[in-house]
């Protein structure tokens, strides 16, 4: 899960990484109150999970209460590349002497942690990587060994970070690495990492992606689920514990297993249709899960047909069938279903559907994934 900047900074602060004093605000009045409390000049920053906020006018400097109010009024509700600004982060403005870049990720190919460090910060690291790759120091770290201060300092030396910023940078790197590992991040990035005229090194921005698989050992993450950016459909699916991603097409998709679900999207696309969603009901899904999945899809008004693609392994065909029959009795489905059922107990499942006596134009069974996709796409076309 991607954190907002303010959450990232608060997360950094847990690991003693120096960030500017500030607070989050949901209203103009709150924003002004924060500005008054932390003293001017302050920076008013739009909290959206998309790059290019500054260029879009989402980051402004305020020298007094009037400016703070004006900027907060303008930025709240602003649309930045389709992201509407609902929160502001107000922090003390920093004097910047130099800007650097630092991040930790997992290098999947090397199966090691990867530190990327550059004395050229404040711009997109992808741009630096393209234009001046030598300006980025890449250091692999064995997760069993971890990162010590001496190694971190050497990396800073190699990145040509100036002498007076070396100790501060090394200190932050070690803390950021702890945040990355103990804090279970997929990504922990500071861009820019700044050197102040006073000689202090300091995180001016925070980009943190958490590995939600580790949520069981981070009760402090609970609050982040409340601010997760989800559309209405995703919200409903999440409340039902389903793996759902909203898309723009008109064929609703339900499949078991992430790979098969992705593949179903692809096949729908190949036969000239487009999927309304990705929905993986997972392994071992029972009737309740199937009913919940249909309920979520039924809430999507763009859906003109529903394609259910099941290959039973742990998931059992008769359970899937029961769920469909139950859902059709409970919810008035707006779109017809095309189903392809194979694998464990598929025969029994098909029999259950047959015995339920569902109208032939409401539920159509097809023997293969490709035929089912063609039928679903044809039906969606008719519905338009």
């Amino acid at each position: 899960m991607d954190l907002f900047e303010y959450q990232g900074k608060q997360y950094f602060a847990r690991y003693d990484i120096p960030v500017s004093p500030g607070d989050v605000a949901l209203t103009v009045d709150d924003a002004v109150a924060v500005a008054e409390r932390i003293d001017y000049p302050v920076v008013v920053k739009a909290q959206v999970q998309v790059g290019g906020r500054g260029k879009a006018g989402g980051i402004k400097l305020a020298d007094n209460v009037d400016e703070a109010r004006t900027h907060a009024t303008n930025i709240l509700g602003m649309d930045i590349k389709g992201h509407v600004v609902e929160r502001l982060w107000i922090e003390t403005a920093s004097d910047i002497e130099e800007e650097y870049y630092a991040s930790f990720t997992l290098d999947r190919a090397a199966k090691k942690h990867l530190l990327m460090l550059s004395a050229e910060g404040g711009v997109e690291i992808e741009t630096v990587a393209e234009e001046n790759p030598d300006a980025i120091v890449k250091l692999h770290i064995d997760p069993v060994d971890g990162l010590d201060l001496a190694t971190a300092r050497q990396a800073a030396v190699d990145a040509k970070i100036p002498e007076r910023a070396l100790d501060g940078t090394a200190d932050i790197l070690v803390k950021l690495y702890r945040c990355f590992t103990e804090g279970d991040c997929d990504l922990a990035e500071i861009n820019p990492l700044i050197l102040k005229p006073t000689g202090e090194v300091h995180a001016l921005d925070a980009k943190v992606t958490l590995d939600w698989n580790a949520a069981f050992r981070h009760p402090e993450w609970d609050e982040y689920s409340l601010t997760e950016v989800l559309d209405e459909r995703e919200q409903l699916a999440k409340s039902k514990g389903l793996q759902y991603i909203g898309l723009d097409g008109d064929v609703g998709i339900i499949a078991n297993g992430a790979g098969l679900a992705m593949s179903t999207l692809d096949v729908v696309n190949q036969v000239g249709g487009s999927a309304a969603n990705f929905l993986d009901i997972g392994g071992g899904a029972n009737a309740d899960v199937m009913a919940a999945a249909l309920d979520v899809i039924n809430h999507d008004e763009n859906v003109k047909s529903i394609l259910i693609n099941i290959f039973g392994g742990i998931t059992r065909g008769e359970e899937v069938a029961k769920g469909i029959v139950e859902a059709m009795g409970r919810v008035d489905l707006r779109a017809p279903i095309v189903i392809r059922l194979d694998g464990t107990n598929a025969e029994e499942g098909r029999q259950i559907i047959l015995d339920a006596g569902i109208a032939a134009d409401k539920l159509i069974s097809k023997p293969t994934m490709l035929e089912a996709a063609r039928e679903a796409v044809a039906l969606a076309g008719k519905g338009n």
């Binding site: 997992l106 999947r108 190919a109 199966k111 090691k112 942690h113 992808e126 064995d142 997760p143 069993v144 590992t181 279970d184 997929d186 590995d211 698989n213 580790a214 069981f216 050992r217 793996q243 991603i245 898309l247 499949a255 078991n256 297993g257 992430a258 790979g259 098969l260 679900a261 992705m262 593949s263 999207l265 692809d266 096949v267 729908v268 696309n269 190949q270 487009s274 999927a275 990705f278 993986d280 392994g283 290959f311 039973g312 392994g313 742990i314 194979d342 694998g343 464990t344 293969t368 994934m369 490709l370």
Partner: protein, 298 residues
């Protein structure tokens, strides 16, 4: 012949007394797999339908001579379970657990590489491995795998996705093509065994005559496999990559299935494999048909 596991492989199940462990452990046993023991701390002396339970993997190995372990425990406990198996000298650990934190996976992987080079980890988050007619460790329904024929040609399958592995087995069965071994390497960011490990085994296995690879978006494992194939694999191959239409920046169910910064796209992977001489299908059925064509020519 088969790769990694065969009819002589003795297997213990870590978590045999749990619901999932019992269901799949017994199903594997019914398939003919030599399930010789289970491990659940504090339950030694008990049994699950005649399979003895031990307190530790070390005890189980000492008593049964097992060389393989099937790990079916929740994400919180799986890393310790895998390392316990390695410490007890287990040679192949199959972990189906989904949802292990990536930091734990990275630590486990690097610990195995350093301290237990003779232990191979399959997974986590994988369906397991099946050498049809010989040994099935994991959650694959054994009956969907076509038995290999004595004189071939037989196909080896390696896949990152569970259900697509079943789909691949199904496609080959429809075509009447025998399978030597089918390996699910799992959809997580740090798999213990990768495509290349399996490709090199299949290349060396006399019972495998062609290889089918099922990949998906995210990471660069398929691109690395393509490089390896170009230089080292002489057996004909077909492949399918899931996720052509997946939107960037979204984790498509699997923790490892994400296109980020324009990297890890299905198209890039398909191009790389095609350039290495692999026949790439646009859907699983097509990959199966391509394999049927390959097999006919053998």
């Amino acid at each position: 012949m088969a790769i990694f596991v065969d009819e002589t492989t003795k297997v213990i199940v870590q978590g045999l007394t749990g619901g999932q462990g019992k269901y799949h452990g017994l199903r594997n046993k019914a398939y003919g797999t030599q399930i010789v023991g289970g491990v659940t701390p504090g339950k030694s002396g008990q049994d699950v339908e005649g399979i003895p339970i031990f307190d530790s993997v070390a005890d189980a190995v000492a008593a049964t001579g097992a060389t393989a372990s099937f790990v079916v425990v929740p994400p919180k406990f799986a890393p310790a379970a895998i390392l316990e198996a390695a410490e007890a000298g287990i040679e192949i650990v199959v972990c189906i657990t989904e949802g292990i934190p990536a930091q734990d996976e990275a630590r486990v992987y690097n610990t195995l590489v350093r301290d237990h080079p003779n232990t191979r980890l399959l997974g986590p988050n994988c369906p397991g491995i099946i050498s049809p007619g010989k040994c099935n460790i994991g959650i694959t329904a054994g009956e969907i795998a076509h038995l290999p024929s004595a004189d071939g040609p037989n196909v080896g399958i390696v896949s990152r996705s569970g259900t697509l592995t079943y789909q691949a087995l199904y496609e080959l069965k429809q075509q009447g093509i025998g399978v030597s071994t089918c390996v699910g390497i799992g959809g997580d960011p740090v798999p213990g065994t990768n495509f290349i490990d399996c490709l090199s085994e299949f290349e060396a296995d006399p019972e495998t005559h062609a290889i089918m690879l099922i990949g998906e978006i995210g990471g660069s494992a398929e691109e690395e496999a393509a490089e390896y194939i170009a230089a080292n694999v002489t057996k004909p191959m077909s492949a399918y990559i899931a996720g052509v239409t997946a939107p960037a920046g979204k984790k498509m169910g699997h923790a490892g299935a994400i296109v980020s910064g324009g990297k890890g796209t299905a198209q890039g992977k398909m191009d790389a494999l095609a350039a290495a001489g692999v026949k790439v299908g646009l859907n699983p059925t097509e990959a199966g048909e391509l394999m049927a064509d390959i097999v006919k020519g053998l």
